[in-house]
């Protein structure tokens, strides 16, 4: 069935595009001999259909177009990413056929939960993909309707432990709140959820007062005027939320930067030529304005400091170290 349906779908696609895709010549020059002779697996550590998965599938589609090689997306979900992270760090063969599509919460697992089993050094970053900034959203009904972020923080300070905030335990949801509470003296009641989306749904149902999430997760509710983003934890204002202030603007600081950064890795020890080719495949796809448009539609943006980096592995490592410093600073990690 898959062969039949793929063939039919391919025919339809070809008919509608009018031509078969041209592979990129510059990329073809970098192709090692005899590689790849089987599909390359893009490992996604989250369930199919989620934001990470969709990013990987869009990327795979355009990488296939640019290189002419077959790319299969495989989900290895579980343990909030831990299962897939462990697989990439310890079990995946470094033969160039496995590429991990990760998000920056990989660092949390690597630094806090993996010591003794594996570490950051067990994978090598090969490309940056995109980023998604964490935003605060408040409902358009209820006691906090129309309030700004500062006002909500004030309320949480005046009545500590009564303002309910949705969090995903052990992740940047909590780190942002930690920083804000340290900055303002506020104290939130943290209601745990499994992801950003359930928290946002709880917000609309009136079960929490403020939620945190990515644009793609709450866009449909924003359009239905059921919530509004009130602040964003990014360095600069984000393209799809131009009139939403950043936390740093509100407080005049630089520390409130929490975003999901998506990047690609290969297991340590992958041969250099294959690694270079895999990296180039993604870089070439990133030049395609169609793909960037699809990413933007999902709500993600391209962080220039990473997109224009000349040594992406070093820059990603530096970002990981910054997070490590945060963990030490907040007592989560003993130096």
């Amino acid at each position: 069935m898959k062969t039949i349906s793929t063939v039919l779908a391919g025919l339809l696609a070809a008919l509608s595009f009018g031509a078969f895709a041209q592979t990129d010549p510059a990329l073809a020059k970098l192709k090692p001999k005899g590689f790849p002779d089987q599909p390359i697996e893009y490992t996604v550590v989250y369930p199919a259909g989620g934001g990470m998965d969709l990013t990987a599938r869009i990327l795979a589609k355009f990488v296939e177009k640019a290189s002419g090689d077959k790319v299969l997306v495989n989900n290895r979900a579980g343990g909030a990413g831990m299962v897939g992270h462990s697989y990439l760090a310890t079990q995946a063969k470094p033969d160039g056929y496995t590429v991990g599509i990760l998000a920056s919460n990989f660092w949390g697992d690597a630094i806090l939960r993996a010591p003794g089993k594996w570490s950051l050094a067990d994978v090598e970053s090969i490309a940056y993909i995109n980023s998604d900034a964490l935003a605060w959203v408040a409902g358009t009904e209820g006691p906090f309707k129309g309030k700004t972020a500062k006002e909500i923080l004030q309320a949480a300070k005046d009545k500590p432990g009564t303002v309910r905030a949705a969090v995903v335990p052990g992740s940047m949801w909590e780190y942002l709140l930690d920083q804000l509470e340290a900055q303002t003296g506020a104290k939130f009641l943290r209601v745990p959820f499994q992801g950003g989306k359930p928290g946002i749904v709880a917000l609309i149902g009136g079960n929490v007062d403020v939620a945190q999430g990515f644009y793609g997760e709450f866009e449909s509710y924003l359009q239905a005027k059921q919530l509004v983003p009130i602040a964003v934890a990014s360095a600069e204002r984000v393209f799809n939320m131009k009139d939403v202030p950043t936390f740093n603007e509100i407080f005049g600081t630089k520390q409130f930067v929490w975003n999901i950064m998506r990047f690609a890795v290969v297991p340590k020890g992958t041969p250099a030529d294959r690694k270079a080719y895999l990296s180039a495949m993604i870089q070439t796809a990133l030049q395609n304005p169609e793909m960037m448009a699809e990413f933007r539609r999902l709500g993600a943006y391209s962080d220039a400091s990473f997109a224009k980096s000349t040594n992406i592995a070093a820059d990603i490592q530096a970002a990981a170290m910054k997070e490590r410093d945060f963990y030490i600073q907040t007592g989560r990690l003993k130096p």
């Binding site: 069935m1 898959k2 039949i4 349906s5 793929t6 039919l8 779908a9 391919g10 339809l12 696609a13 369930p47 199919a48 259909g49 989620g50 998965d53 969709l54 599938r57 869009i58 795979a60 589609k61 997306v73 495989n74 989900n75 290895r76 979900a77 579980g78 343990g79 909030a80 831990m82 299962v83 462990s86 939960r113 089993k117 009564t162 309910r164 335990p169 052990g170 009641l189 943290r190 209601v191 745990p192 959820f193 499994q194 989306k197 749904v201 709880a202 609309i204 149902g205 009136g206 079960n207 929490v208 793609g216 866009e219 449909s220 509710y221 359009q223 239905a224 059921q226 539609r297 999902l298």
Partner: protein
């Protein structure tokens, strides 16, 4: 745009060669995937998701949704024929369905399963057509306290499923609960009972449990008594449901549809829970419940209706709120997003063509499935006459690959084998598995909801008193639980609990 006009538009959108073809394809794949033990709609959807990116939205979504429904149709096939569930949502069907097959009435069971699925699918779609916006607000009202209350109700239903020894039944419930807890605690990220291996960090895979406990143990049981050319059913007593069957089944079908629809609609429900609750309900209100487990067709009609209706129910929060109730609807959400659509409160008004096109595709898909499954009944029944020694390697291999398909992890196979051996031993000692399975399914949501509610609540357990829906459900559960224990005590006057 009102519902009738919308539906008209939907059908006009649907009737293109591409859309209809992929709807049919999805139905076939879904049935196949349902019939195969182990592999379920989730795996099939994940595999075929990339194909939908090149299709029109209606074709792509129509295909995926048809797979989901199809799996509910097909899942009962192996349950009835060989007592090995094709799908977690078809576990209950095996209880009476297989008993019927052994009496030579597999045809009636299979036929009634298909018809119940069709009736439930269509009725629930009608509800979706006319009441989506209204029902959406119901789904939204279910916050953590309500979810907890619903899970408690489900757990009480589990008590009803205990046929034999109460102690053994409660033991199974506790074990099921514990098995579900194995893994990472989502509230604080702590590993629980994972025995140090990262493979258990994700928890025990439900497919391993279902196939191992039900499938492998069944194969072991059969191997024991195999006689050279034994077939699964010696005599085939007619292919179609009799008039008496119809008379007995139509009310369970209706009840199952209604129940399943609501259990699919609310978070934490879903086809598996719906099938169990329906079975429990039918057994509870039957005039002669001893028939259940021995070939009562109500035990097939009700659950089969419920699991199909739950699929439609799950579509409502997906389309009207953008909330996926389970992993399968999460995939459907992903497919929609890839098509450039953000399902949510504005979806129906912004893209009526897409929404109604998909709804039309669901109606047509159900018809395709009925037309597909009914003639197949004859074929399946013939399979029963194949000597077991020829069937058994195929079933074994299919079970192994089916379980492997979940996470592509060999560890799941070991878990399957472990549960198979344990299952075999427990069957000999007359333990029942249904309480284990339903506890396994309900536990995660139950625990999570309770802990979330406790965090949210300014006054501890009293939060349940302040929330009317939750309060009603909990009181209902307590009453039902009391009734269960009274009934059991009265049934065994010798004081033997």
């Amino acid at each position: 745009m009102d519902a009738i006009n919308g539906l008209m538009m939907g059908f006009s959108v649907l009737f293109t060669a591409e859309n209809l073809y992929f709807c049919l394809l999805g139905s076939i794949v879904g049935t196949l995937v349902g019939v195969l033990p182990g592999i379920g709609p989730l795996a099939a959807l994940a595999l075929l998701l990339p194909v939908t990116f090149q299709l029109s939205a209606v074709a792509g979504l129509g295909m995926l949704a048809a797979i989901f429904y199809g799996a509910m149709y097909g899942g009962s096939t192996t349950s009835i024929l060989v007592n090995i569930p094709g799908e977690a949502a078809s576990v209950v069907t095996a209880l009476d369905g297989h008993a019927m097959a052994k009496q030579g009435r597999a045809g009636a069971a299979l036929g009634m399963a298909a018809i119940s699925s069709f009736v439930a699918g269509t009725l629930s779609l009608v509800a979706l057509t006319f009441f989506s916006p209204l029902l959406a607000s119901v789904a939204l009202k279910f916050g953590p306290p309500e979810n907890f209350a619903l899970m408690v109700l489900g757990l009480v239903c589990t008590l009803y499923m205990i046929g034999g020894s109460t102690l053994k039944g409660v033991l199974m419930i506790a074990l099921g609960f514990l098995a579900a807890i194995v893994g990472m605690d989502i509230v604080n990220g702590q590993d629980r009972f994972t025995l140090g291996t990262v493979n258990l960090s994700a928890g025990i895979e439900i497919l391993s449990v279902v196939i191992g406990l039900y499938g492998v143990s069944e194969i072991l049981m059969n191997c024991e008594t195999i006689v050279k050319n034994q077939m699964l059913a010696e005599k085939i007593k007619g292919l179609w449901p009799t008039f008496a069957d119809w008379k007995a089944s139509w009310k369970p079908m209706m009840r199952g549809s209604f129940l399943g629809f609501f259990l699919g609609l609310v978070p934490g429900g879903g086809p598996v829970t719906a099938s169990f609750v329906s079975y429990t309900l039918e057994r509870r209100i039957a005039k002669d419940p001893e028939r259940f487990g021995k070939g009562a067709i109500e035990g097939v009609a009700g659950p089969e209706a419920a699991n199909n209706a739950a699929v439609s129910g799950g579509m409502i929060p997906l389309f009207t709120l953008g909330i996926p109730g389970n992993a399968v609807t999460a995939l459907l959400l992903g497919a929609l997003v890839m098509q450039g659509v953000q399902p949510g409160p504005m979806f129906i008004t912004q893209r009526p063509d897409l929404f109604w096109g998909v709804v039309a595709s669901l109606y047509v898909g159900n018809v395709f499935l009925l037309l597909l499954n009914l003639p197949l009944v004859g074929l399946w029944v013939q399979c029963l006459r194949i000597p077991y020694r020829v069937l058994f390697p195929l079933i074994l291999l299919l079970s192994i690959v089916g379980t492997y398909s979940a996470n592509k992890n060999i560890f799941d196979l070991w878990v399957m084998i472990g549960f198979g051996i344990v299952g075999y031993v427990l069957r000999k000692l007359q333990y029942e598995f249904s309480p284990f399975l339903i506890a396994f399914v309900l536990a995660p949501m139950l625990e999570q909801s309770l802990r979330q509610s406790m965090v949210m609540s300014p006054d501890g357990l009293m939060i349940f008193a302040h929330r009317p829906i939750a309060a009603v459900l909990i009181v209902g559960s307590l009453i039902l639980a009391a009734l269960v224990f009274l009934k059991r005590k009265s049934k065994q006057p010798h004081g033997d609990l």
